[in-house]
């Protein structure tokens, strides 16, 4: 097929119209590969390692879906997308799903015609200041007149303005183009404060020469629910991705880990776990998958909690605490509808 296309393009012989696709799930199965849109790099969330293998928290979602659908967590074509190209790539069908720390907003869901299938990380905009400034809170009076490094054209810029207006203080914005530039300016002392998503702040701070000299302020001034998304209109495929993510979450809730999954899959006295892992009921069949789909998804890198700890958790350099991303049973927001 590929060769004929090459010669076709070479000869400008015109392009045969493709067959109208039946559904993304069938396409993915027929292709034997999942086209997963990822970011070009966000520390801890998506990054190729020195051997060129993609690693990260968002990558784990892609791998879980590929394992559930294709029984191979490596049968993925990772398509790197930038903030500018991600939505068109998804809308045009170049990728089957996008797992690229994308904030779930109403306009993206409704106007851009996408289907957010859940939230895998609740982020929010935070602040970093040098410890030497003595600022400990983004609402304290000594924050008045502070210089803030802020990326232009982002929602963070608007959130910042809203925040300072609401506490009735003034600030001096120092516009920068990228996160990297912001750090350079911040380190050079051009601004006292640097604001962006807290997960990004934590990653930046971890790689500073003396992380202990920099403080993340406790305030979070915006909601940034990050989640994978698919195209509108293919609900079967959206269900597969949604319930794969839910399977990872439910596995943590039920205590299924990569270590004990083999044993649990043999059948337990917990009916929901049995339904999840396929020893009971026909949930897999409803998704047009086999009974072991969720087991395979969880086997790749463990449940939600394990993935979190391995990529961005407190044991890693980035060192994010679970916080609002803890299970609902631990007072967090991570919650999956029941497997029934």
């Amino acid at each position: 097929m590929k060769k004929t296309i090459f010669f076709g393009a070479l000869a400008v012989a015109g392009l045969a119209a493709g067959i109208v696709s039946a559904g993304t799930l069938d396409d993915v199965k027929a292709r034997g590969k999942l086209n997963c849109g990822v970011s070009t790099g966000v520390p801890g969330f998506a990054q190729p390692d020195a051997n060129g293998v993609w690693q990260g928290f968002d990558i784990a979602v892609c791998r879980a879906v590929a394992a559930a659908v294709l029984n191979d967590s490596d049968a993925i074509e990772f398509v790197p997308t930038t903030g500018k190209t991600r939505f068109t790539s998804l809308a045009s069908g170049e990728i089957d799903m996008l797992a690229r720390n994308t904030t779930w907003t109403m306009s993206r869901d409704v106007d851009l015609k996408f289907e957010f299938i859940g939230v895998n990380y609740y982020d929010g905009q935070g602040f970093m200041v040098k410890a030497s400034t003595g600022i400990t809170s983004a609402k304290s009076p000594d924050i008045d007149g502070v210089t803030v490094c802020i990326q232009t054209g982002t929602t963070t810029e608007l959130n910042l303005a809203d925040h300072f207006r609401s506490i009735g203080m003034s600030y001096e914005p120092l516009p920068v183009e990228s996160g990297a530039e912001a750090v350079t300016q911040y380190m050079a002392g051009a601004c006292d404060m640097f604001t962006t998503d807290r997960s990004a702040l934590a990653a930046r701070r971890a790689n500073m020469e003396t992380p202990e000299d920099h403080v993340l302020l406790p305030e979070i001034i915006s909601k940034e629910p990050l989640g994978p998304l698919v195209r509108h209109g293919d609900n079967d495929w959206a269900d597969v991705v949604r319930w794969t993510l839910n399977a990872l979450i439910t596995a943590e809730e039920l205590g299924v880990t990569s270590a004990n999954i083999e044993e649990m899959a043999k059948g337990t006295n917990n009916p929901e776990m049995n339904r999840l892992l396929g020893s009971e009921g026909n949930l897999g069949e409803m998704l047009n998958l086999d009974a072991d789909w969720a087991k395979r998804a969880i086997s790749v890198a463990g449940n939600y909690g394990e993935i979190f700890e391995a990529n961005i958790g407190s044991g890693t350099i980035i060192g994010l605490a679970r916080g609002v991303n803890a299970m609902w049973t631990d007072g967090g927001l991570i919650y999956s509808p029941p497997f029934r």
Partner: protein, 428 residues
Amino acid sequence: MAKNNAAFVRHQLIEEQAPPITERGVVKWVRENLFSSPFNVIMTLLSLWVIYSIIAGVAPWFINGVWNANSVRDCYDILDGATGACFAVLKERFPQLIYGFKYPSTEYWRPNTAVILLLFALAPILFRKLPRKFLLFSLIYPFLAYWLIWGGTPLVPVVAFLGFVIGIYCFRRFSANAFALGAIIGVIAANIFWVLGGYVVDANETFLALQAVPSRDMGGFMLNILLGTIAVALSIPLGILLALGRKSNMPIIKWICVLFIEFIRGVPLITLLFVANVILAFFLPPETSIDLILRVIVMMTFFNAAYIAEVVRGGLAALPSGQYEAANSLGLDYSKSMRFIILPQALKISIPGIVNTCVGMLKDTTLVSIISMFDLVGMIRGPILSSTSWNGVYWELFGAAATIFFVVCFSVSKYSQWLERQLETSNR
């Protein structure tokens, strides 16, 4: 009296003596150039101070540079507060900077070979003293390079090459009677051969096959060179044709060329790249997606060709009209007068402009990092700066990228100056 007063005449020359120490060598040069006036003295001292402060500031950074570390934090530990670069990132990620992160490491010899062979392929085009037989290799080279870099079975480029040969043969055969007939028959013959060849290739996928590397896996500086070389090689002939078309007397050809040039020149390259990456995906059916690299090459070729066309048009305009008239009066037809009289002179005038455009093109290939291709800059901005190990190392990486580009672009410009001297025929 007259005899006695005869003037003293020396019979031998006084032996040559060395000029005074202040009038020779370094001292003279320094006095004349650096300390000739009070103003110069001040400027010299000021410049020395500036140079000293730069070196004093930068040297420790280089000398203390850390070459062995696993992450930027290791670097900080080793440096222990001293100023110093973290060159370890270059050491660990060097293959990624050059080849991207997905090109299989066992196959690095293939792009390397392709680059070395490129020098051989360019030589007969650039150096006219070499035997003309070598040009045959230059003709084969693009197909050879395709096989080396993309892998797969060599039948693909062989079929493509033979298709061209057949097409050109048919064209030669039939164009004696009518140019258009020859061109049409040539194109049809080549197409038939390619379609038939496609079946042969599909049936023999593994024949002498190298490991296939999809376009998406190209990256690093290799991608810049790849895009730059192909775009430049294709755009120079296209640009010359466009320039000739724009000066043509035939209104339709002229207006097509003018429209093309003005439209492409009026649009930023990055817009064209977005079209290639994003918009085309909407127009083409999902299953017939053409390689992203191919789409980008087409856009870059168009863009560069439009600029080169204007440079060549400048060269054509610079020729005195006597040259055109001389060609006509010799009874040469259009193609002969262009080939033997006009273009050799016009292109010689255009060399600096063409090289200028092409060096610019090579550097513009870094724009593909914005449409999420991992060229040299894309590798740095994306995977390397976003890795938990190397997040925060900026100067070393971008410095390395600048150095690599400088070396390549400077060599190209030096070469073009040399070429201009070689082609210099007038007595200035």
